[in-house]
């Protein structure tokens, strides 16, 4: 009990110290007129801790120069007295540095912090894509593959150590706007890649030998809409000719048995297949990118929620793909890997029989383009929270899913074609 109180007390104190590190510290602006006054500043700097903001060091101070420096709170009176006494021209630039800092953090222009264990809005994710690439230039580069209906840039992250002739795995998240855990996983994957490269042998080998194209949110307009207007929105936000109803189901919009079954021709329906295959700017951008890089992309992963399923082609027909036995073994092993962490049970199999028949899916399309390893993940849970998965489950969901994705990536690496 006592130990706990001491710990809490210590934590409280250190938190206090961290928060108010610059409390009551002052920043002075001084303009020494001559060598004598420069000397006064010199002796000040040798008698106490003075942090020069301009110039960088006391040795650079010259007459008539604007000199800015920061001093400890308990020394500021002494400094002011000294400057007054010696007739040196000065003014207080910042009266309380801590207050100035706090004001900066409170300003309305400050965006919310990114967190891997929280749901981030699009603005935060967009900024994060820039930051993560800038902080890890050897491993991450960011590009734009197209624009959404509402004009937002579609950011793509390319992960991997730069080497010639690398094959790649493509993974996208956020097809359906309300499936918030999906973009959260793409962000987690990127984090794990940059943080464990050089530490985790599997991840290091993967990033050395393969490139990963990660599209954190494909249906950005829809995602924004779930944050601003309707948490349960699914489709894109494009207008439909001759209807008041908005949006197309992006995962019914690909040219794979397009609109033949499990999709609707009614623009008001949640599974509306669109006016034509790739009618949506977002799906066209994805398809164009994959077509352009078809010779290098060897696996396609698309992340959805919920239901805890690992699916492979086909969904647009009950027919089985030529390598269905191989896909089935991969899915079985990947599901076992996933379950090994928290015992989360996944069901796996071909889409049509495992979930429902549905034409126009990106996984079926990618497969028919020649990408032999094509999988759809439906992440947690099985309906208790459904789309509203609590933030406390982001970390465990992402950790277990990562095991499955790493398994699949490793398998692909060992079976390149």
């Amino acid at each position: 009990m006592w130990a706990l109180l001491v710990l809490i007390g210590a934590a409280a104190v250190s938190a206090h110290l961290q928060d108010l590190a610059f409390d009551r510290q002052k920043v002075f602006r001084v303009i020494p007129q001559n060598d004598e006054q420069v000397e006064i500043i010199n002796s000040l700097a040798s008698n106490m801790q003075v942090d020069f903001w301009q110039p960088d060091s006391v040795t650079l101070v010259r007459p008539k120069m604007q000199v800015d420096f920061r001093v400890e709170a308990d020394k500021s009176f002494e400094v002011e007295d000294l400057l007054k006494e010696s007739g040196v021209e000065y003014r207080v630039l910042i009266d309380n540095l801590q207050a100035a800092l706090d004001a900066q953090f409170d300003s309305k222009t400050r965006t919310t912090r990114h967190s891997y264990e929280k749901y981030n809005n699009w603005e935060t994710i967009a900024a994060w894509t820039a930051d993560i690439a800038a902080q890890n230039p050897d491993l991450v580069s960011r590009s734009v593959i197209g624009e959404t209906y509402e004009g937002r840039p579609m950011y793509l992250l390319k992960m991997g150590k730069s080497r010639p002739n690398k094959k790649a795995i493509f993974m996208d998240c956020g097809f359906h706007a309300r499936e918030w855990i999906s973009p959260a996983f793409c962000q987690w994957f990127v984090k794990e890649a940059v943080e464990t490269y050089g530490k985790d042998t599997v991840m290091t080998t993967l990033l050395n030998s393969l490139d990963f194209y990660v599209l954190p949110v494909i249906n950005i307009d829809g995602y924004v809409y779930t944050w601003t207007k309707d948490r349960m929105w699914r489709k894109t936000r494009s207008k439909n000719a001759g209807s008041n109803c908005i949006g197309t189901d992006p995962n019914r919009n690909f040219n794979a048995g397009w609109c033949t079954l499990g999709a609707s021709k009614n623009p008001c329906d949640s599974t509306y297949c669109g006016s034509a295959p790739e009618s949506e700017k977002e799906t066209k951008a994805l398809a164009d990118f994959i077509r352009e890089h078809l010779s290098t992309i060897k696996a396609y992963l698309t992340i959805h929620s919920y239901s805890q399923l690992l699916l492979f082609p086909y969904s647009y027909t009950y027919k089985l793909p030529s390598n269905h036995e191989e896909l089935n073994s991969i899915a079985r092993a990947a599901s076992e890997q996933l379950a090994s962490l928290y015992n989360t049970k996944y069901t796996y199999g071909p889409g049509a029989t495992t979930i429902y028949p549905a034409a126009g899916g990106s996984d079926d399309w990618a497969y028919d383009e020649g990408i032999k390893y094509s999988f759809t993940f439906e992440l947690r849970d099985t309906g208790r929270y459904g789309f509203l998965l609590p933030e406390s489950q982001i970390k465990p969901t992402c950790e277990e899913t990562l095991l499955a994705v790493k398994y699949i990536a490793n398998y692909v690496l060992k079976h390149l074609y």
Binding site: S270, G386, L388, L389, E391, Q393
Partner: protein
């Protein structure tokens, strides 16, 4: 699971399943059931027969606590968005959510066919209705998620509950979706 086609009647499924207590994953009970889906033109809810091996957990204490807490509220309970967008449920709302889940089970049963799979997606609004008798009454507006069509269907249900008398849905109706979404 076994499926039996019965001419002019419908499809009968024989199921063996394990029921798991939501609040205690280690507490399970075996169950066998028969579900008869009538022919679509009949427009009848499926017939369900079931047997449970053993007993369900006793919930008297938790029931009484919730019952007494609501009975002693000065103002009728009102709440929205359970869970909220981020999946949060205030601890004191958890029983309200569980009650909705049970009640929505009835609504789902009454509206299920072989081609539907419903889940309770969210409670948009709940309002307690004062009663002069011992029952608690709640008016819920819920969202049901239908997996196959992927539609979100607003539904209204009036729920009666008493610790000794169980849950009753006295009234329920499908609500219109907002136009031109």
């Amino acid at each position: 699971m076994d499926k039996e086609d019965i001419d002019d009647v419908g499809h009968k499924y024989h199921l063996e399943l394990v029921l798991e207590d939501i609040l205690d994953k280690d507490s399970t009970v075996n169950c066998t059931a028969e579900v008869l889906y009538h022919l679509p033109n009949k427009n009848l809810p499926p017939d369900v027969q079931f047997t449970i091996e053993g007993e369900l957990k006793n919930t008297d204490e938790a029931d009484s606590m919730f019952y007494n807490r609501i009975k002693s509220l000065e103002k009728e309970l009102v709440a929205e968005d359970i869970p909220d967008s981020h999946g949060n449920v205030a601890p004191e709302m958890e029983p309200v959510r569980l009650l909705a889940w049970v009640a929505s089970g009835y609504v789902i049963w009454q509206n299920s066919t072989e081609n539907t799979k419903f889940q309770l997606a969210q409670i948009k609004h709940v309002k307690q209705v004062k009663r002069s008798d011992e029952y608690l009454e709640f008016d819920y507006r819920i969202l049901l998620h239908e997996m196959v069509s992927q539609e979100i269907i607003p539904w209204q249900m009036t729920v009666l509950w008493h610790p000794h008398h169980g849950v009753q849905v006295t009234q329920d109706s499908r609500q219109p979706k907002h136009a031109s979404e």
